[in-house]
């Protein structure tokens, strides 16, 4: 009998997402829809505001992936006004970017995704001596490891479970037969989960040094708002640089000593997940981490490009100013376009007119043949795209970048898998870890570039020649982009007489969580769920494993919040 499984809200993500999966008689998903159930209004809020303030407002789209919208925004305004940030500012922005990416990915793995693969309750049955032996084998470079340590972790966990207050471990299907790790591996993973929880607040200091605080460090059109002063206390001095270096060393240790080994160890127990959850066959990256200015993409650490149909022999270029490439559709989205729902608009012509035609909440199900999401459907040349760590890794690998090939080939050799294993839920999860491996190395490299530049006598951090609106043209348009942890992010701005006339944001989770377009083509989440067997429709852990592999951030994706009379404005309880 055909069944519809509804998971709403999806927990252990950022924001509000609803998934409806239609199962056939064998319990296999044959259709799925992804619905963003929340909207906020940033694009409308920005209208008529000062473009120099835009970054601060945009950054508040999300505190989990903080910095990314601020960066895309200052780049968009700088692009429109033809301002180029000086070298130190560019390097510092790269450092902020990389610190964010490393922290974000590590937290995602341990605190949002791991519980799909690790059965925390089973850890109570573990033999702590055997756990120690396993930890020595898996992560020999990690110092915190002894039978006593694991006994302590197990005892703490037991107190939690006995009090029936599973607390932060409450959001998972404990005891589900799909959990394959032995108790010792589960206990080791729980201990490392706690280590990561301790560590994640440390790396945030890097943002505080250069940007004043975390979340939401400060940015600046024209540069960065911190001063480099080797004398005195008030700016970036030797002491602050040393602190940053310490945190970077710590981050590399965490990634190489814990994250990568744990990922490999856990992945080895779930080989069937290298064949499920692949979904779309198209991948897109805009590229980022400039070494010679945002206008020189050849010298980005992360190359941009499109891979179509999983063909790694061919990478197509992306042009964000080409009105025939990136466009947003609303055929299945709760928005109105003046020329009808079949239109596809480039962000410079973008329109955000909300028009809810869905059922009155609470509702049992949405209508997949009609409009069903607060997310628009972005498409590249009419094609749906997956963005994010897997897309970036594939593009880097396909264009032949040595360090990308090195980390990918090393991982595939260790796990004895072919390249095609990357096109899966586990592949996407591993890609996130491998990207973090590169990011941690780059973090040190960027730091060294900064120190070298300062040593050469350059302490400039901002170009303020075009700060005042009187120096701007009456009409200007620009685009800014970045590779946020979750994927390609773009901001498009039109500035008229010193004020923002139109602002459009296309975020990674809109690409990935997108509903169908006018041709009925699924977005990435929907496509990835197809053909996945669900063992128990009351505990659809398979859906969570795949959706979490994308690291959804719906706060970004649906950026309008409920207007008066719209009960979707109610805060959704987990």
């Amino acid at each position: 009998m055909a069944k519809r499984v509804v998971v709403d809200p999806i927990t252990r993500i950022e924001g509000h997402l609803r998934i409806e999966a239609m199962l056939d008689d064998r319990g296999v998903i044959h259709d799925a829809i992804s619905s963003g159930t929340m909207w906020r209004g940033l694009e409308l809020i920005l209208k008529d505001r000062d473009p120099r303030d835009a970054w601060a407002i945009c950054e508040r789209i999300c505190g989990v992936c903080t910095t990314v919208h601020a960066l895309a925004s200052v780049r968009a305004v700088e692009n429109a006004l033809r301002i180029r940030a000086p070298k130190n500012a560019e390097i510092i922005r790269n450092i902020l970017f990389l610190a964010q990416m490393v922290q974000d990915h590590v937290i995602h793995f341990y605190h949002l995704h791991a519980l799909d693969w690790v059965d925390a309750v089973s850890a109570l049955k573990a033999d702590t001596n055997a756990t120690f032996a396993l930890a020595q084998k898996v992560s020999p470079d990690w110092p915190t490891s002894s039978p006593g340590y694991f006994r302590e972790v197990q005892a703490t966990l037991k107190k939690f479970v006995d009090s029936a207050q599973l607390g932060i471990f409450a959001n998972a299907y404990w005891g589900h037969p799909a959990y394959k790790l032995p108790p010792e591996a589960n206990l080791m993973a729980v201990a490392h989960y706690l280590e990561a929880l301790r560590w994640q607040r440390e790396i945030a200091a890097i943002h505080a040094v250069f940007g004043g605080k975390n979340p939401h460090p400060h940015y600046l059109v024209g540069g960065v708002p911190c001063a480099i002063t080797m004398q005195g206390d008030s700016g970036i001095n030797i002491e602050r640089l040393n602190l940053v270096h310490d945190r970077i060393t710590e981050a590399i240790r965490m990634v190489e000593g814990l994250y990568i080994p744990d990922l490999m160890a856990i992945a080895s127990f779930y080989p069937e997940w290298t064949k499920m959850g692949g979904g779309l066959r198209n991948y897109m990256a805009y590229g980022d981490l400039p070494l010679n200015g945002i206008g020189d993409p050849e010298h980005f650490r992360i190359p941009g490009g499109v891979v179509l149909n999983r063909d790694l022999s061919h990478v197509l270029p992306v042009d964000l100013t080409d009105t025939g490439q990136v466009r947003e559709e609303v055929a299945h989205s709760w928005y109105r376009y003046a020329n009808g729902s079949e239109a596809a608009l480039h962000p410079w012509e973008g329109v955000t007119e909300a028009h809810y035609t869905g059922p009155k909440p609470p509702y049992r199900q949405l209508d997949e043949s009609g409009k069903y999401s607060w997310l628009k459907a972005p498409r590249w040349k009419g094609q749906p795209m997956e963005v994010g760590p897997l897309a970036r890794l594939l593009v880097g690998y396909a264009v032949g970048r040595t360090e990308f090939k090195e980390v990918v080939d090393d991982a595939l050799a260790r796990m004895k898998l072919p390249v095609t294993a990357l096109f899966s839920t586990l592949g996407r999860t591993a890609a996130r870890a491998l990207e973090t491996r590169l990011a941690a190395r780059w973090l040190l490299a960027e730091y060294e570039r900064l120190v070298a530049n300062i040593k050469s006598g350059d302490t400039a951090t901002a170009d303020t020649a075009s700060w005042v609106p009187e120096t701007w043209p009456a009409d200007a348009k620009g685009f800014g982009y970045t590779e946020a942890p979750r994927g390609a992010l773009g901001h498009w701005v039109r500035i008229r007489n010193g004020k923002i006339d139109n602002y459009q944001i296309v975020v990674p989770s809109t690409w990935n969580a997108s509903p169908k377009d006018g041709k009925g083509q699924h977005g990435a989440y929907e496509a990835a769920l197809l053909d996945t067997p669900i063992a128990d429709s009351t505990r659809p852990i398979e859906i969570l494993r795949t959706i979490h592999s994308f690291d959804p951030c719906l706060a970004c994706a649906s950026h309008l919040l409920g207007a008066d009379g719209c009960t979707l404005a109610e805060v959704v309880v987990r």
């Binding site: 703490t156 939690f160 009090s163 607390g167 301790r198 607040r201 805060v571």
Partner: protein
Amino acid sequence: MLVVGVGNLLLGDDAAGLAVLAELESRRRVWDKAVEFLDGGTQGLGLLDRIAGHRALLILDAVKLGAAPGTVHVLPNWNGAAARATTAHESNVAELLQASALLGELPPRVTIVGIEPERVETGIGLSAAVRAAVADAAQAAATAIKEMAGASGL
């Protein structure tokens, strides 16, 4: 000891804890030198560092237990039974305290003083029912501080 107000100023009555904190801070007295006040906003797990190491912890927040809006709740010796808080973010007070306990850093004495919200929606400003309860909640908090500070030898 630490007194931390949490909540979102942009979500109506979710800011109740922050209003109580402001009221308390305006009543600071001599013995309060041993008491640290903190606006924790929506920091969630970002507060782990700030609560570690204290001998006692008082949390001020909007607390939804199904009572009439404006009801002042005092939850002493919190043991995790406060169930799930509503928040627009992925982490909240219950998770913060549980994570802290899991790391072995939770202060030995934890009390929550809160006000039952009427309306947690976008908007700046408390509902009339909650605003009217702020003074009483601050009084309950002041009593809790005295008890906890005394019991902790501060």
